[in-house]
Each structure stands twice: as structure tokens, then as C-alpha cells.
Amino acid sequence: MGQIIFAVLLAAGLGFFAWNVRKVRSNILLGRDVDRSDNKKERWKTMLLVAFGQQKMFARPIPALLHFAIYAAFVITQIELIEIFVDGLSGQHRIFRSSLGGFYTFMISFIEILSVAALIATVTFLARRNLLKVPRFNMKEMNGWPKMDGNMILFMEIVLVTCIFTMNGADEAAHKQLMGSSDPYYGFTISSLISPMFEGMSLESLHTLERIGWWGHIIMVFAFLNYLPYSKHFHIVLAFPNTYYSNLEKKGRFTNMESVTNEVKLMMDPTADPFAAPPEGAPEPQRFGAKDVTDLTWKNLLDSYTCTECGRCTSSCPANLTGKLLSPRKIMMDTRDRLVEVGDNKRKHGADYDDGKSLLGDYITEEELWACTSCNACVQECPVNIDPLSIIVDLRRYLVMEESKVPSELTGMLTNIENNGAPWQFSPTDRLNWANED
């Protein structure tokens, strides 16, 4: 009976997860193309350092260590999870124990110690989020769901770890009763400290307790898995592809707009016919810059799903630090929210459906965009190599080139460049005057 329930749960859990992952993937692929297939060696290296080794987290050592404890526990627990899956499907209890012997005890003990470290980290993180009032966790964009999301996952973590220890502790106590002095202990470091608490219980209730822990654990695992695609915690998966596809160019280099290059070349070529019709079958010209998520690149969209909402970007943003509306984290959260909306609309109403809304305007305002100094602090800070600046620039490009919506002082600057080759009103003939002044 238990095996059947488990099999159904497993199929449903994995199936629903796969369905959600496909949805996310198709959403990301709504973006424009960008080539990140070069330089594979450098990409693997970046992924290993930044995602696997969490290199950029260590700019802030204390949260980095705590976060690393949760991460390491999470990764290593997967080994125990395999065993639990086998147990669930076949009913065989702790199958690795007989074959691995002493190493098994060491391995489970190691997992247990990491789990305690993770538990401590989780409680600290909960306190930090809710009691310490770290400013970056309490900004406007974190109100409501994002705040709950952050707490929920930490809460799930606590339940999960509690289940593991209930399971192992009760199992340890039952084992002792069964085997007596011939083989008294599993000897797992932490649960052998817990098991004395269960000593007076009957074998039957110990077994029930063990099963409660077991089922509790596995249900939490499935819940967690399927919660991921709706949560900022999806970063535990997406951090890997996202860092692999990082921008490897110098941060100061903004992308070149090919479509503009073609037009400028035409304008500068005296033999070109400015009124020539575009060649037959030429693709419809793309909009300049970005108005909505579908005008961004798939990497921008992958960025948005990878964002952990940690706010490191915003807490280093000069505009945000001085009270401006701009928050690079909000740029990423808005992009994701809008992408989910656009994706759902397309699935519900067909690919051409237009809900009359757009990322620019309905989510991100002009005031936010014009506050950016393009300083790259957000890009530098992001622990998973997200680039909020490239979204900001593409939205600006749309505003300026498609809608001519430019702050008036900037219009002056642009006219000056066009007319006299400098952002100020100086005559180009005076450019060398400095050499003869003292």
C-alpha cells in the first residue's frame, strides 16, 4: 500500500515539475536570440567558480558561510534521498548500509552534521529577515509574496530537517531494541544523541514515528521541488545555466545594434539609394530596444528567473542608495512577473494575444530608467551573474529611438553632439584652443 502511494506521489511530483519546467523554458525562449555559444572553457570555469563554488557570495563572508551550509547540506542529502526513493518503491530499508558498512555510517553522520549546520543557518536567516530588519529585505518591492516566499522556504527547510532527525532518531532507537547488544547502534552522530529521547517507547510506536519522519520528509521534498518554479528558489537550478551563459565581455561594453549599423552605413554611403525598397523576403524589422519582455534576449529572461531577490544589487546601486525610485532587483522581479503573465496569456489566448500591457510603463517607469548611471555595481554584485543594466539600456533605447521620449536636458546634449561634435555648445573649431592657453 505504502509503495503504491509512494509511486503515485513520485510520478505526480516529477510530472508536475517537468510540466512547470517546460513552461519556464518556453517562456524564456520568447526572448530574442543572442549568441553565447563561444568560449566553452571560460564558461565552464565561470559556472564552476560562481555557481558551484559560490565565489561571489564570499564578498560578504558571514551570510556566505551560512548559505554555503544550506547549499552543501542540500547537495549531499541527495545521496540519502536516493536511498529513501528505493525504500519507497521497494520497501527495502537502508539498502546502502550493508554494502557500504562503516562508510555508510560516516556518510549519514556527515549528512546529519551538515543538516544541523543548515538548521542553524536557516534559523539565523529567518531571524535576519524578520527581526534584524536588514534594509535590503524590507524594501517596497519585497512586500507581499516575495517576503512570504523568502520565509516559506526557510520554514520548509526547518520542517524537512526535523523530519530527517525524527526518522533517523526513531530508527536508531528501534534498531537498538531489535538488535540488542550484538549490533546496538547505527551510530549516526546526531541521531544517536536524539534517540535516547525515544528510549521508553514501544517498538511499534517507534516504527510509526520513523514512518512519520520518513513520509514527512518525502512529502516536503516533493512540495519543495514543485514549489521551486514559482519561487525565487529556482535559482538553485538556474544558477548553473545562468552563470554558464554569463556575459564574458568587459562590463563597460554595451551591445552593438546591428540594425542601426545597417542604416547608418546606408546614410554614410553616397552611392546608396535611400528610398530603395527592402529586398524581397527580408525579415520584418525588429523594434529598436525593448518595450516588453519579448523584445529582451533569452539571457535577460533567464536572468529574471534566476534572480534570488537577495537585493545585493540594489544595496550597492548609487541611485537607490540616494533615494531614487530605481532598484535593479525590482527590474529583475518586474521582468519575471511580466514574463509569467505574457507566457500565461499566450498559452491561454494564442500566440498573438495582446493584453495591451507592457514591461515598460505598466511595470517599469521612465523615472526608474533615467536614474541609472550605468555604473555596473549591480552587475558586479550579483552572486549569480545577472545583468540588470542591459535591460535598463534596452528599455531606454526603446524610449529614445521609438518614442523620442528623452529628458529635455538630454535632448540638448544629443543635438549638440550631432551639430558640433561635443555634448556641450562649443564650436568644433575651438577644440584645440587649450594648447595655446595658459
Partner: protein
């Protein structure tokens, strides 16, 4: 000492080609404060007999502020015009004292066909000192002074140049003190991304005030930088705290020119 500033056109007329093109930039050409930085650099180039020339009236804005403001048309028009001029003179190496020009010429011109070896003036000066071409007599008038370096975003984070300017300051007879946020964590002066040319959006503080406050906390006597825009912003910040009598804002080139008694 009067400055020797040959132009590319003059050089070409004589059938010569300089090693470096000195890209002066709009600030360096027109802004009164930035012109002093330009001249300090020329003094160093003259003293070390570096073969260089400027474009003079043939130079035009790189297009950086237009690109950052989102106007790719204006940027590319400027870039293509400049590339025509640069290629006409067969320019290979460019040195500039403006990190914005530096970034644009180095990173954004290649895709439009302009390929040059571009360096920032602090990198060139470092090279000259390392080669023994420039000696700092007595280390200048900096004895006992504290100098802090403000990283320009387009030199530091944008192009990973953090060491050259610091190496130069360390050659002076002064103490280099770092601000809380420095190098990769450096805080912007507030001028980048075309902000230089407009009022800031509504907020509770100006960015340059925030940054200057941090610089003043180090109790430095000199705020050094390597960008004409940063220079303007920090100078304004110092004025805001009415500290202009005790704290100077200087470009690294000016510090070196002073120390070399040029």
C-alpha cells in the same frame, strides 16, 4: 615651459607617424578644469619624449553619452565618422585621459570596424615610470599627506583597471588611504550613463555628495581620480561640504606632473 602639441595633420604633412594618438575628449578639450588635466598629461608626454599627436579640430565626441542615453543612431554616426578619421591617419595606439572615451574606443569601436590598441593615461604613465623615462624628484609636495583614490566606474568595474592609478599614487611621498567602498565595490560619482548632462531624478541625496562624504571620512587631503567627470562631481561634492580650502580633487596625471616638477 610651453607645451608641444603636434596634430595628426601636421605630422602627416611632414611624412611622420606618431606612436600614440592622444585622444583628448570633449571634457579635456572644452572644460576649464579638465583642460588642466590635459595639459598635465602633455607635460608628461613632452618630458618623456613620447611621440604623440592629437586630432585637434578633427576630433569629435566618441558618442559615449549618446549610447548610454539609448540613442544608438547618434552614437554610431559619431563612431563611424571618427573611425574614418582615425583610419585615415592609420592610427594604431590611442591614449586617453577619459575613461568614457577609453571604454568606447576600446570596447565599442571594434564592432564598427575601428580596431585600436587603447590605453588609459594612468597605464601609460605607469609604463613610462617603469621604463625609467620619468623620475619623480623628491616625490613632490605631498609629504605627510593622505591621498584617497576614487575609482571611475568606466575604468574600474567596466574595464578592470584598478592597479595602475594606485601604483602611481604609491610612488608619491604620501599615504594612499582607501575608502570603505573601493575597487570592485567603488561607488559611482553620479555622472555616468549620461547623468552628467541632466539633473538627477527625485531622491533624498545627490550621489556625488554621498561619495564625497565617504572620501572625506578617510580624512584624505587629496581626492585623486582618473576621469574628468568624476573630477567635476567630486569637486562639487567637496564644495558642498565647504571643504575646498583643505581638500583638493586632482587627477593622477596632475599628481605625477607635480611630483616630477613639470
Amino acid at each position: 615651459m610651453s607645451l608641444v602639441v603636434p596634430t595628426m595633420a601636421e605630422m602627416m604633412a611632414k611624412g611622420e607617424a606618431p606612436e600614440y594618438l592622444f585622444w583628448v575628449g570633449c571634457s579635456g578639450s572644452f572644460d576649464d578644469r579638465a583642460k588642466k588635466i590635459t595639459k598635465a598629461l602633455v607635460k608628461i608626454l613632452n618630458e618623456t619624449k613620447v611621440s604623440f599627436a592629437v586630432l585637434g579640430t578633427e576630433e569629435s565626441c566618441t558618442g559615449d553619452p549618446a549610447k548610454r542615453a539609448g540613442n544608438e543612431f547618434t552614437f554610431q554616426m559619431q563612431a563611424m565618422m571618427n573611425i574614418q578619421v582615425l583610419d585615415g591617419y592609420e592610427v594604431k595606439k590611442i591614449v586617453t585621459a577619459c575613461p568614457h572615451c577609453f571604454n568606447t574606443l576600446k570596447n565599442e569601436y571594434p564592432e564598427l570596424g575601428g580596431n585600436y590598441d587603447v590605453i588609459h593615461h594612468t597605464q601609460l604613465i605607469q609604463e613610462l615610470i617603469n621604463q625609467g623615462k620619468l623620475t619623480l624628484k623628491g616625490g613632490g609636495t605631498f609629504k605627510g599627506k593622505k591621498i584617497t583614490f576614487h575609482d571611475p566606474c568606466y575604468l574600474g568595474r567596466a574595464n578592470d583597471v584598478y592597479e595602475a592609478p594606485r601604483a602611481l599614487i604609491e610612488k608619491l611621498d604620501a599615504e594612499l588611504v582607501e575608502m570603505k567602498r573601493c575597487k570592485t565595490n567603488g561607488l559611482c560619482c553620479g555622472a555616468g550613463g549620461a547623468q552628467m548632462f541632466k539633473e538627477a531624478e527625485k531622491g533624498n541625496k545627490e550621489i556625488n555628495v554621498e561619495r564625497t562624504e565617504e572620501a572625506l571620512e578617510t580624512s584624505a587631503n587629496i581626492i585623486a581620480t582618473g576621469c574628468p567627470f568624476c573630477n567635476t562631481m567630486m569637486t562639487d561634492g567637496v564644495k558642498n561640504f565647504e571643504k575646498e580650502d583643505s581638500v583638493e580633487v586632482l587627477d593622477v596625471a596632475e599628481l605625477i606632473a607635480n611630483a616630477a616638477e613639470l
